[in-house]
Subunit: 189 residues, 2 copies
């Protein structure tokens, strides 16, 4: 998606070996028009997959998941990773190992919001090693729902998170795929 690549090049910032900071438009301050275009792009790609719900993980997946669900005309659901006293006990849960944090955390979704018969489109803002994606797929499996696709805003392709999902037969689509960082600049695949 050219608009997104341009935003990454002009408004993103490479920090060190493997961090891309995009808080100017993706995960702290949000460029709403750009996010609408992301939703249209995901909806165009996954529009014929019979998607019934869009699932993401709080927090930074929410805007792009919202615009995708809006475009597809289906509800958006965000799995929780933060303690919440209002969450019911009747939830599916999965553990996600975070390499950056060096520990596992727990994600949860209310059983009413992913159901047998659903075809779920999973959206996330970043794909690195693919751990969060694995947790979200796990929640869908527990619910007896089908995963209709995996949509990623920015894929750090050099971390190979995509490979196992391709092997398992999932349809995965990234709006921007980064091959590498070179001298503090982003090189797209």
């Amino acid at each position: 998606m050219e608009l997104l690549k341009e935003a990454i090049l002009t408004r993103g910032k490479v920090l060190g070996e493997d961090i891309l900071k995009v808080d100017t438009f993706l995960n702290h301050q949000i460029d709403c028009e750009l996010t609408i275009e992301m939703g249209k792009e995901f909806a165009k790609y996954f529009g014929d997959k019979g998607i019934t719900r869009v699932l993401t993980l709080e927090v930074s997946g929410i805007p792009a998941a919202f615009t995708t669900a809006l475009e597809l005309g289906v509800p958006m659901v965000y799995a929780k990773k933060i303690e919440s006293k209002n969450l019911s006990e009747d939830v599916y849960t999965a553990d996600v190992h975070s390499f950056t944090k060096g520990k596992a955390y727990n994600i949860r979704v209310d059983k009413r919001f992913i159901e047998k018969g659903d075809r779920v489109l999973i959206i996330d803002d970043f794909l690195a090693k693919g751990q969060a994606l694995g947790g979200l797929i796990d929640l869908c499996k527990q619910a007896g729902a089908e995963v209709g696709g995996l949509g990623i805003v920015i894929e750090k392709a050099f971390q190979n998170g995509r490979d196992r999902y391709v092997e398992e037969g999932y349809d995965i689509y990234s709006l921007a795929r980064i091959e590498k960082f070179e001298d503090g600049r982003v090189v797209f695949k």
Copy 2:
């Protein structure tokens, strides 16, 4: 806002004395069309206030803040309350006392995303005692930005969170104001 009141009555659930569960459409599963209507309603009310940014607090304020900012054609910013390794050191911070959790937590926003000269519309999903709102106003003050208005999706009017902001001269607008819960049902003001 009639559509929202109808959603609260038909899809919300009163728990105990003072909890309204609206996870079917507002803060776990999201009704995207309804959220778009919320944004339009806020934009209609605050449209002539010269708003330059919409500010909310992660997580559940994000969808309504997004649609409002989209409608107003300005960026949306969410203050962080969760630990984030990607957040810079150069932030404004405020402490928010949570009555439900019985403790204070810290909220933060990068200094690049609220600036002197900004007119900020603050959006949140719930107003109870108004503590979170106070923290967000505090961040704006530190930045030297003006608060152009306070927009609330659901106000529990019986908790009087509105009063001090009205006294301080803020323009506060709630899409649905709840007078009380009676026999497990919502009574609007």
